[in-house]
Amino acid sequence: MESKISVKNLDFFYGSNQALYDISLDIPEREVIAFIGPSGCGKSTFLRTLNRMNDTIASASVKGSVMMDGKNIYASGTDVVALRRRVGMVFQKSNPFPKSIFENVAYGIRINGIHSNKADLEERVERALKNAALWEEVKDRLNSSAFGLSGGQQQRLCIARALAVQPEVILMDEPASALDPIATQKIEELVVELKRDYTIVIVTHNMQQAARVSDRTAFFMLGKLVEFNPTQKMFTNPDEKLTEDYITGRFG
């Protein structure tokens, strides 16, 4: 298995509070990895260490290494903006810009100067919307406000926005938790579809969602990685008693 991201002995602190303890984990390329665990277990914090989103918190500090394609993303001199282009992110609540559907997707392409001309830009926007399974629903109203879209469509728009800058890894923090079952199913199908081209890490509170979409599952508790195994094994015969108790709902 080819590792896209390799985390070694990662500790994470909010000021003097340690939030992650000695996490080591390899994320293989073009797989879907699910992070599960009770609230406050550190799974979202850990997700954010993978594209240095935690850097925006002043008191945050990190020990250990996160290697992406063999280079430590915490090494001094790392271009964090470039890193975040390679490792895109989709959040729990869809957060489109107060702009048109087209401009939402075009934004990242423009500021990164990825396109060569207007036609190229339009083509890239279309491709991103198609990859996010949204094109058919919005192609006739690209210039309308993104806020006119339904919650599920807005979330797919955010995915399209993330895809537009050609990332290699996509981090998703509970991308479907605010959506109805049909919109959720669309996002899940999209996740499975996207792993052909991308490495995807998804944080979810929905155990069945983790079971449905992921190839491997990591279970976190109290800032520690309890178990990381193929999803099929995690849900039929986990190695750890703690994992079993959590996925079978024996503690809240």
Binding site: T236, N237, T248, F251, G252
Partner: protein, 218 residues
């Protein structure tokens, strides 16, 4: 450790499969008794009560499907529901074999008593013991005992061969015993099949307790 809604449902499912196991054991024991003691009313009772076993099977099927659909069990819970759902039709089939033995008893009991034979009741006893032990092992999730029971299937297979030869000789020596002996041959075959089914139950208990598939592993 929190008590979950699922726990109540799993407890109920466990009760139901134990009742079905008990009814199946009783059917087998009575069928054999009706044969050995030439008790035709008892054989008829086995046949009459098979319907109850069929209904128990349907009820467990319904409960298992409901738990899978509504509770979405995982890990040990999932393996338990799957094991129960797979053991249920096996028990029902064992009960069918018991009914077939009872049917044979109704015919054999109208024939002249055959001379005494030793292997046959021993074979029946082994099958009944294996079934009882297999169900106990499932209840206590004792996979070691299940593996021991699986080994005992050889005893049944060997006994079947001996009974087969014994009955064949009987038919050759005394043509008037042919009808009775032929039906007994079927009874022996039913017992031999029951041994195979008990093996399947034991394999499912190993799956339940160890998450290991040992079926077809030899």
């Amino acid at each position: 450790m929190e008590r979950r809604i699922l726990d109540q449902k799993l407890d109920l499912l466990r009760d139901k499969i134990l009742l079905l196991g008990g009814a199946t054991e009783a059917a087998l024991n009575r069928a054999m008794q009706s044969l050995v003691e030439r008790d035709s009313p008892l054989a008829q009772k086995v046949l009459d009560e098979d319907e109850i076993i069929d209904q128990m099977e349907l009820e467990i099927d319904r409960m298992s499907i409901e738990i899978l659909a509504l509770q979405q069990p995982a890990a040990h819970d999932l393996r338990f529901v799957i094991s129960v759902a797979k053991i249920t039709p096996i028990l029902e089939r064992i009960a069918d074999h018991a009914s077939n033995i009872a049917r044979a008893a109704l015919i054999i009991n109208t024939e002249p008593q055959l001379k005494n034979y030793i292997e046959f009741p021993m074979m029946a006893q082994t099958a009944a013991e294996m079934l009882r032990t297999a169900l106990d092992a499932f209840t206590s999730e004792d996979s070691r005992t299940s593996r021991e029971v699986i080994e005992r299937d050889r005893e049944i297979d060997a006994a079947y061969k001996r009974v087969f030869n014994e009955l064949l000789e009987m038919m050759i020596e005394d043509p008037s015993a042919t009808t009775g002996a032929a039906h007994l041959l079927f009874v022996a075959k039913h017992l031999e099949r029951i041994g195979d089914y008990v093996t399947d139950i034991c394999e499912l208990n190993v799956y339940l307790t160890e998450a290991a598939f040992i079926k077809h592993s030899k």
